[in-house]
Structure formats: C-alpha cells, structure tokens
Symmetry: C2
Subunit: 295 residues, 2 copies
C-alpha cells in the first residue's frame, strides 16, 4: 500500500501527516514555525524517515506557482521575512527525491472540499477562511486557479458600513480591504475585545456579516462558483451562516436566477464538509496528484 | 471547405456572419432586435439558406448554461421582457439541425481574445466591455467560466469616490455596483453630457478610472487572470488605459509579486487584440467547438 506525506505549512506551525491510500491519517506531528534554517531540516528528517511515495504541501503565501517562472515553487513576498525567497518546492524535491506537489494552503483546502467535501461532484468552488487573515482558494473546471499569481481574496476592496468606527480597516497595504475589515484581529482592534467574546447582538457582527456577504456577492458576480465554503476561526460562530446568506440574498437583489438562490442559499454558502481537515486532505490530494503526474 | 455561422445576439441588433475554415468573414448581415417572434424567423432563414456546418451564438444574458438544467440554453431574467424564457439554443438546434454552441456575448469575446487576440497562448483572461452596460467574460484553464450561472462582472460592488455626486450609481438592482457607477449611461446621467463629450480633465474621468481600477484590482485579488482586456464604447477613450494602469498599481500597494506588475501593467491591462471583432470571432470559435464536439 502506498503512503503519502502531507505538509500544512503555516506561519505559526508546521503540521506533518502521513496518510495511506484510503486517505486515513496514520501519523501526525506538529512543530512550531521558526526560521527555515531551523525548521526545514526537522521536516526533511520527518518525511525522509517514512517511506512516502510523494509529498503535498499546502503553504502560506504568496507563492510563485507559474511553472515557466525561474522562481517556480518559491515563497515570495511574505511578511514572514525569514521565509522570503525560500524555494520550498525545490528544497523538498532535492532532499526527498520524490514527487512533490505545492499550492497555497487555501487552494489545497478548496481542492479537498471540491473532491471530498462540501463541493464534491462540482466543477468549481470557493473556499474562504476567516481567521487571523482572510484567504480564499478557488477551484474552477476541477483545477486550482493560479493565473497571474494566485487568488489573494482577502485583499479585494469592500464598502465599509456607514457606522464602522474604522472604515479603512487594518491592512497595511490596502484601504478598506476584506482582510483589513473582517479578519479576527481586525475585529479585535476595532472593538478592543476578542471576536470570541463579542456578544451576538453587538453591532460588530452586523458589520462582519455585511463584509462577508459583500465578498459572497462579488464572488457570485465575478466568477460564479458553484459553492461558497466559509471556514476558519471566526466562522466557528455558526450563527453567522444564516445571517450571511440573508444579507447576500439582499445584495443580489433578485438579479441571479438559480435554484440555489431560490432556496435561500442554504446549500450554497456552507461550512467546510471536511470540518477542520480540509487542509490536511488538500495536501494529501496534492501529494496524490504529484504521484500520478510522475507515473 | 467548411463554413460556420456566427450570431452576435445583442439587445439592439443581431449580427449574423458566415466564416470559412480560416476565420475569414465571407458574409455579414445585421437586423434590428425586435421580439423573438419577429426576429428569430429571419435569423433562421438567413442561416438555413447558407450551408453552414455549425452555428455559434454569443448572446446577451443572463443565460442558463448549466447542461444538467431543464432550462439549459435559455435566456432567463433579461430586462428585455419579450426575450425572457426564450430557449434560444433549442430553437436554433431544432430549426437548423446542426451543432449549435451558445455562451454569453462577453464569454465569447473573452474566448476569442484568449485564442486569437491579446491573451493568445495564455490559459486565462478577463474581457470587460464598458459601454451601455459593463459586462465581463472570463476564461480560466482555457475554458469559459460558467459555474453557478455565469459571471455578471458589472454587478460587483465598488467603493464610490468621496466627491461622486451619485455615489449609489444607477443600477436598479444594486447600490454602488460597477455598472451603475461606470457605464456610459451612468456617466451621462451623472454629468448631463455624453461621456464622449466630457473633456479629458473633467473629474468624471478620474472617477471612471478609479472604478475601473478597483475592478482590475478585485479581479487580480479574486481570480488572478493572466490578462485584463478592456473594450467597449467608453474605452474608445484610449487616454484611459495608462490612467487605469497607474491607479491599479496604486491600489495593489506592492502586494502582488509579478513581472507584469513590475512593468507597470503595460502589457497586462490592454485593449482587445481583435479590435471590434472579438464578438464575431468568439461566436465563430463557439461554432467550431460545437462542430468538433459533435464529430
């Protein structure tokens, strides 16, 4: 039986898993993300000690995913300065001498949701995580979308609510972008209390709902995904889902003719089907695809 | 030699063309768009009198393009009420008994630009027409994007400029959407003069540039196309291109690492490579694809 390595490379921790052919997680180890010099040798050691057939990496970005670029497979302008210009794909390929698949963490999660989760059987879906940042992974025609670079959905521009005390948001690069307005830390900076502790009737939640509904509306109008999956820490507040659906319907204004809309978006704007496992299953699928491609 | 029919089905006119295998337009006829009862028989007659192998239709929307829907190939909630619920694909298939390909007018134009025009050789592009409306066609992984319905790019939400006298725009369905703020008629309603006659130093153009640059920024952040092609009547004002590039760069805020960005978007935000022929060539490509699919 073949086994595969799955690396969820995050800004605070590295989650390393070994999965078998059936997608069962056989082993899992978590180490903190320090500098590449400190962290990469530990990861190489972990994976090289297991006889895996291929490795999949869902990585924080931005990444260069253009196969014809000389920086293909490199972490580029990340704010995590120590990791800037780390050729993560090449390092693992050279050290492990097995096929390695790489994509953004959110594209990996979107892939998992489209193959095994909430968007199973559909050719397209948008996966959005709302937590310490806001990121989006996008599957269209059954494949992750890269294009010019890859989606950075959190940095789209959003209309601030009239009574938002911080209408410009907190993104250092963009005024009034989604991440700057709607991430967990943005909520905390605005209201001086963790989103977790904000009462359900606090106006901050109405604003959060508006920002996420605007994102859903813009996604439907711009690239029309067959499913929108909202995950991440902030979406643990499950009372948000019906509110976001209602506000999105209001914004759509009856313009889009679809059974999903007629049903009130109940089965369209949904939580992840794989719960908290979208990330690991996405990296696993990247590993399997890399293996198949090399066969 | 095979010949193909190309129908550009618009709200005011129907442009019917016959093209040969090499893509040369051999014949062209234009009739006004009246009601389906009046217009469709004339179109059927035109195409059935020519021995075409297949027909491609680039049609005003919205359309149902979901092959598993019972309304597949139908014009749905168009404001042109006489055309609502017209099964345009089936009518032409039944009458002509040849393969027929159907897509939105803007997806057809985007397809033509991606195969023969400004985005030739790329796997993705966004084609936007800014005229009496604002519409967007989207190619990803070499294929037009449909998804839930199909892109309705003009109805994404945009941040109005602070000094815009009509910050809510003029769309009957959406407050502050791109079409409601930036279409030709929106400019005319706002400034009481046709966009054509607005002096280049009028503040209306600064606003127009901001709205179109926001759209470009959001496209790059949301689905990262490899090329953005801006066409349509308003973009005949070619002084807009460098201004839109400059404003988009400003909005991106150094966040996206790409040679296209480093070059100032000069070869990224561009006019159509096929000039005014994107539409007819798109319908032609839909005809060819329908023919190949049936072979």
């Amino acid at each position: 039986m073949k086994t595969y390595g799955a690396l969820e490379a995050g800004g605070t921790k590295m989650v390393m898993s070994i999965l078998d052919d059936s997608g069962k997680i056989c082993e899992r180890e978590v180490i903190p993300t320090r500098t590449p010099d400190e962290t990469i040798p530990d990861m190489i050691r972990f994976f090289s000690e297991r006889s895996i057939h291929s490795l999949g990496i869902g990585c924080f970005g931005p990444l260069d995913l253009n196969p014809s670029s000389e920086n293909f497979g490199m972490i580029t302008r990340t704010p995590k300065l120590a990791w800037r210009n780390t050729p993560i794909l090449r390092i693992f390929q050279d050290s492990l001498q097995i096929p390695v698949g790489l994509d953004t963490d959110v594209n990996a999660a979107a892939l998992a949701e489209s193959v095994l989760g909430a968007a199973r059987g559909l050719s397209s879906c948008l996966y959005v995580t709302v937590g310490t940042g806001v990121g989006g992974g996008l599957i269209i025609h059954h494949q992750p979308v890269h294009g010019l670079v890859h989606p950075e959905l959190g940095h789209q521009l959003i209309l601030p609510e009239k009574d938002d005390p911080c209408p410009e948001g907190f993104c250092p690069s963009h005024r009034s972008c989604l991440e700057g307005l709607a991430s967990g830390p943005a909520m905390e900076k605005r209201w001086h209390v963790s989103a977790r502790d904000l009462p359900h009737d606090h106006p901050g939640w109405r604003m959060e709902v508006s920002y996420l509904a605007q994102m859903c509306h813009n996604a439907i109008m711009s690239f029309s995904p067959e499913k929108i999956i909202l995950g991440g820490g902030v979406m643990q507040q499950t009372f948000l889902y019906p509110l976001i659906r209602k506000k999105t319907l209001e914004l759509l204004g009856g313009y889009v003719a679809s059974p999903c809309v007629d049903e009130g978006l109940e089965n369209y704007i949904v939580p992840p089907g794989l719960d908290i496992h979208s990330g690991v299953m996405g990296s696993y699928l990247l590993a399997r695809r890399a293996c198949e491609k090399s066969d």
